[in-house]
């Protein structure tokens, strides 16, 4: 294999004009005239979409270089001087920022840990309801919070848990114990309320996906099982759970992939100064330092870190799932 191959003669002698013609011929040969003609209107439709994705999704990715620069307004993205990994050093050498990253993982991880199984349980319970009116009634109720935005939910939380006597919870707490409790200003109770509010808002709606999966189970399996003497619990464990497992795994991958993207709205409306030690997360921090204080390089570095960890998490989760034959792609 020591002798290098000579370049094919055609590559040297072909003039560019002929190259262009061969290329279009190649297109015709590969796809056929009819298909090419059919593709013209499709490309006309798709052109605005391509432009949209290039301008608003892919072009901003080039802006990530700000993370490696010392951004100045006057010089813009490309003119600003390079700063190497300075921004990342600032993040990882700073206890406060490590804390913020940790808070993001903690709140998000707890939300998944507690919030993920509940919709599955809810779907299983709803699936056992025989009275259709009752089922629809409950479904209407539990889907509702999903459509309320976080400002509304935050308003409800602040009202219900208010520390003075107007808060209905503290009204009861005072009646029981003689004094009120600062639910929203204590780190532990704030964390619990944060997680519970997420569950309250989304658990019902997330159950839809599992309900859809449950309707696809072959009913004759249950009949056969009950003839064999399997009780409800055994049927659930042996038939229902395995049947919805692919859906469960896909949902879990998606959830883990979004672990870093702890919603800005939820944290922003619920947080207060007293609990900032546990309540400051990457998204709210980026807003404060990037938009409000215009420290673009640091905020971009934080965002890049968030995006990369998110990507790695999705890919890892997917490859693990694929090992079990349940991958997303």
């Amino acid at each position: 294999m020591s002798k290098a191959l000579p370049p094919p003669a055609s590559a040297i002698t072909n003039p560019s004009q002929e190259q262009a013609r061969t290329r279009s011929n190649w297109l015709v040969r590969k796809y056929g005239k009819r298909v090419l003609k059919q593709n013209v209107p499709l490309y006309l439709m798709f052109l605005p979409i391509m432009i949209f994705f290039l301008v608003f999704k892919y072009y901003p990715m080039t802006g990530l270089v700000i993370a490696f620069k010392k951004y100045s307004f006057l010089k813009g993205i490309w003119g600003s001087p390079s700063a190497g990994l300075h921004s990342f050093q600032m993040i990882f050498n700073n206890d406060q920022m490590i804390k913020i990253i940790w808070n993001t993982f903690k709140l998000s991880g707890l939300s998944i840990l507690i919030g993920f199984p509940l919709p599955i349980i809810l779907a299983l319970l709803l699936n056992e309801v025989r009275k259709m009116i009752f089922k629809r009634f409950i479904q209407t109720f539990v889907y509702l919070p999903h459509f309320l935005n976080w400002v509304i939910v935050g308003g409800i939380v602040v009202t219900v848990f208010s520390q003075n006597e107007t808060g209905v919870i503290n009204h009861v707490v005072k009646w029981l114990t003689g004094s009120t409790f600062p639910f929203l200003y204590n780190e532990t109770s704030w964390t619990s309320i944060f997680i519970a509010s997420g569950v309250w808002k989304e658990a019902g709606w997330s159950a839809i996906i599992y309900l859809a999966a449950l309707t696809t189970i072959d009913q004759s399996l249950y009949e056969a099982a009950s003839i064999d003497g399997a009780n409800k619990w055994q049927q659930t464990i042996r038939i229902t759970i395995p049947a919805i497992m692919p859906t469960v795994i896909i949902m879990l991958i998606l959830k883990i992939g979004h672990l870093m993207e702890l919603g800005f709205d939820q944290v922003f409306v619920l947080q207060n100064d007293a609990v900032s030690n546990v309540a400051e997360v990457i998204s709210t921090f980026m807003y404060k330092i990037g938009i409000q204080q215009a420290n673009f390089s640091l905020a971009t570095a934080m965002g890049l870190f968030e995006s990369i960890v998110g990507l790695v998490l999705v890919l890892t989760a997917n490859s693990i799932a694929r090992r079990f034959g349940q991958g997303l792609w």
Binding site: P48, V129, R130, F141, Y143, L144, E165, T166, K232, T300
Partner: protein
């Protein structure tokens, strides 16, 4: 079907648990509603539970007379209606080619689209882009960056893929162009799924918060979510009222005004929700089956 005693107990407990869950989802809202219609003393002493105590709607009067809530409401409507129309138009235009097997480059474009779901540039690069396009403080900043949601695009694409091909073949033999095919055969068949994705887009726009906070600084253009959030978080509104309208302020508590704000923002959703629920559920189901 005969049920054993054990099963009867199970069903009883199941119904009870579900009822509790259902009530947990609505009662907090009922409580806030009751609070918004109660008078100052009832609110302050914590006497309000699920029914207004000493009916009083001065929280709403303060809201309507002293805050730009009508303007914010109108802004929310404009953001939602125009934004949703643009979203649906471009999602259809994206989904149709991607659903066609003979669309050259289909696999590449699908991957390129899905990748944007997995990796995003993040807050600051997007902010700088909109700034350089001169879209700050305009609703373009709310409409354009989210013009096509990948999730909704996938829902619509898989729906289009599921339509019977014979229909299209027949139309094609009759000489219909792709545009006619889309507008006169595909779209009329897609009513429910288009309704579902319109609703998803609509809810997102109606609930828009972070983007408005970041991109729209002009208070005349802010929407209902941002206005109500400011009402909830700072007390300055009440202090201003105490200076300008002392006798009205005397009738108010911050909690009552907040509650009224929450209800005003929730109301359109509550009114429409029962009628639209089945479309939402249908859309979510299609998304779920596709995964």
């Amino acid at each position: 079907m005969n049920s054993t005693k054990g099963e009867k107990i199970f069903y009883g407990i199941n119904y009870f648990v579900l009822l509790l869950i259902g009530l947990t989802c609505v009662l907090p809202l009922v409580h806030v509603l009751a609070m918004s219609f109660s008078d100052k003393h009832a609110i302050a002493s914590g006497a309000v539970s699920l029914w207004p105590v000493n009916f009083d709607s001065s929280g709403y009067s303060a809201l309507f007379d002293e805050t730009p809530i009508f303007k914010a409401f109108r802004n929310s409507l404009i953001i939602t209606v125009v934004g949703t129309a643009l979203n649906v138009l471009f999602t259809v235009l994206a989904a149709y080619p991607l659903s066609k097997r003979y669309f050259i480059g289909r696999r590449f474009y699908s991957l390129a689209v899905v990748f944007t779901m997995l990796f995003t540039a993040g807050l600051i690069p997007n902010y700088l882009l909109l700034k350089s396009l001169g879209l700050l403080n305009s609703y373009g900043a709310l409409w354009l960056p989210g013009l096509v949601s990948v999730w909704n695009l996938m829902i619509l694409r898989s729906f289009f893929e599921g339509l019977p091909e014979e229909l299209e073949e027949a139309a094609r033999i009759d000489g219909s162009s792709e545009w006619r095919l889309l507008s006169q055969i595909i779209l009329p068949l897609s009513g429910p799924v288009i309704a579902a994705i319109s609703l998803f887009y609509g809810v997102t726009h109606w609930n828009a918060f972070m983007n408005v906070l970041i991109y729209i600084n002009d208070t005349n253009r802010q929407n209902l979510t941002v206005l109500v959030q400011q009402l909830i978080q700072n007390q300055s509104f009440m202090q201003e009222m105490a200076n300008t309208q002392p006798e009205m302020a005397a009738k108010l508590t911050p909690e009552g005004v907040k509650a009224a704000g929450v209800i005003v923002m929730t109301l359109p959703m509550l009114v429409l929700y029962p009628f639209l629920q089945k479309y939402f559920v249908k859309g979510a189901m299609i998304g779920a089956v596709k995964g």
